[in-house]
């Protein structure tokens, strides 16, 4: 089963590389879709079964469609405008690589600070269904953030529709 996870990680990283470097933004967003799918599989292997489904529903079914619509709506001069990546790439590349290395090192220290789980506990964690537990948590300790997010969603919908509305 580790092979599937490895494949998913390779898919994620490879398509994220294309998202970063492909000059055509339509292709970049299509490969972003593959990145989302790869991340969903990684979630699945980390025992986050509901989250994997939500990832596909929200990102692939929602965000990607929205981005594709936006690209198609704004980029009607297709070939001229889509290829717009900056020419100066060296400094951003070095900068983002430095950020990535720093992040990995910082998290690595955190890894060392926290006690690891036993293999049996990991096995058990992966095998337990999480949907009901997430539901319990959303009704328990996370009730207030959950409702706050509802209000955020309401505001986002009203605001976004107001912004996008033609005069």
């Amino acid at each position: 089963m580790n092979k599937v996870l490895l494949l998913a990680e390779i898919l994620t990283v490879a398509s994220a590389l294309i998202v970063g470097f492909h000059p055509n933004i339509l292709y970049a967003s299509v490969f972003l879709l593959f990145t989302f799918c790869g991340v969903a599989v990684m979630f699945l292997f980390a025992g986050a079964d509901f989250l994997a489904g939500a990832q596909v529903i929200i990102y692939v079914g929602g965000v990607t469609i929205l981005i594709l619509f936006a690209i198609m709506l704004t980029q009607w001069l297709y070939k001229i405008k889509l290829a717009d990546i900056r020419n100066k790439m060296v400094v951003p590349a070095l900068l983002s690589a430095a950020v990535g290395v720093f992040l990995y090192r910082a998290l690595h220290q955190m890894v060392a600070a926290l006690p690891p789980q036993t293999p049996e506990a990991l096995e058990k964690f992966t095998a337990t269904p999480k949907t009901a537990a997430i539901g319990q948590a959303l009704l328990g300790g996370y009730l207030f953030p959950f409702e706050a997010i509802t209000i955020l969603l309401l505001g986002a919908m009203v605001g976004a529709v107001w912004l996008a509305r033609p005069e």
Binding site: A40, G53, I57, G61, I65, P129
Partner: protein, 377 residues
């Protein structure tokens, strides 16, 4: 937790000698190549026969007895057609688009409960899996239509994408009452709870078909059916491929087998939608008022699986028949009516049904109409 009896487990139990992942692969291959793709092929023939019957014609009758091999002839024709990408089109996306459609509709077969012992993948997020996998179709149609650089295609693809995503909300919200009732997302468990027998004691969790659990779920079933009809671009919601407006909509530039794959994906999707209605609301594999596993004597598991599979297929194909029947009955909607119906009709009704079901569950302590009648409380 119900004892999970998935296809791979059953095969391993009956035959042995291969590791579980091998049986998993074989079961996936069996379901796709023995059920999904043949259904996609045969459905074209059945649809034409039904159309012919309703219009008092004969329909396809040349290839084989009563034209039954028409689909094979169609497949050969499609395979031997020339195939090209239009000049201004985007070759990569043009090739990618059918992949999305086929993967989206065929992978959904994994969670269909063909029988208690023949569920491809009885995952514990079954319903979410179904919703997640079928969302792949909308980007596929959109990208394919964009890649073919054709105005009809683009308009069709845009209509398809916005229609599919809009109707996904009412579909998901009309699945929600079932989740409220069952307290589980696992489709095998949802179906198992819909059993009911008059010859003996019923377990406390069983509450007959979800469609007759309470009045709200009864309406919810119709919402799910209508939403599914729109998600699969069937008449009266076939605006994305309306012949009289958009030539052939999003698949105008797709020729030969590429078009065949689109058609296949679409028919598989119709089956998935009908199976969803069957499994979630019409009792899935259960024979009404009879539990063949509690007859007093034990049937072999293979036979039980066989009978249950046929029961499931009968129900699903009846729903498919209704879908095809509607095609020759209803006229096509206008695009504003379509969107209005989704956002102003189905969505508030679906919310109403969810709240109604929740209230019913609260008031009657989770009992179904049948349980109340039988005096279980």
């Amino acid at each position: 937790m119900v004892q999970s009896a998935q296809f791979a487990h059953s095969l391993e139990g009956w035959f042995g000698f291969l590791p579980l992942w091998g049986w998993a692969a074989i079961s996936a291959g069996l379901v796709i190549y023995m059920l999904a793709l043949p259904f996609g092929g045969l459905a074209t023939y059945i649809e034409r026969k039904i159309a012919a019957d309703m219009q008092d014609r004969i329909g396809p009758n040349r290839v084989g007895p009563i034209g039954i091999f028409q689909f094979a002839a169609d497949a050969i024709k499609m395979l031997s057609k020339e195939d090209f990408v239009p000049k201004g089109g985007d070759r990569f996306l043009f090739n990618l688009a059918p992949l999305f459609v086929v993967v989206g509709s065929c992978t959904a077969f994994a969670v269909l409960p063909l029988s208690k012992y023949l569920i491809g993948a009885d995952v514990n997020i079954g319903v979410i899996f179904l919703l997640a996998v079928t969302t792949l179709i909308a980007p596929g149609l959109l990208l394919g239509s964009w890649a073919s650089e054709n105005k009809w295609s683009l308009l069709g693809g845009l209509r398809a994408a916005s229609q599919i995503v809009s109707y996904e909300i009412p579909v998901a919200l009309s699945i929600l009452p079932v989740v409220l009732i069952s307290g589980s997302l696992q489709i095998g468990q949802i179906v198992e709870q819909q059993g009911w027998t008059v010859f003996g004691e019923n377990p406390a969790t069983n509450h007959f078909w979800n469609a007759f659990h309470n009045p709200f779920t009864f309406f919810s079933m119709f919402l799910l059916f209508v939403g599914g009809l729109a998600e699969t671009n069937r008449i009266p919601f076939d605006l994305p491929e309306a012949e009289s407006e958009l030539v052939s909509g999003f698949n105008t530039e797709f020729s030969g087998m590429r078009f065949g794959l689109y058609a296949l994906g679409e028919f598989c999707d119709v089956f998935v939608m009908s199976a969803m209605v069957t499994a979630l609301y019409l009792g899935g594999w259960h024979i009404p008022f009879l539990d063949i596993e509690k007859l007093g004597f034990a049937l072999p598991t293979g036979l039980v699986a066989f009978i249950q599979f046929h029961m499931f297929m009968i129900k699903t194909l009846l729903v498919v028949f209704v879908v095809m029947w509607l095609r020759w009955t209803l006229p096509r909607l206008r695009v504003d009516q379509l969107m209005g119906m989704c956002w102003k009709g189905l969505l508030p009704l679906a919310f109403f049904n969810v709240l109604g079901t929740a209230l019913w569950m609260w008031v009657f302590k989770g009992q179904s109409l049948m349980q109340l009648l039988a005096g279980h409380g």
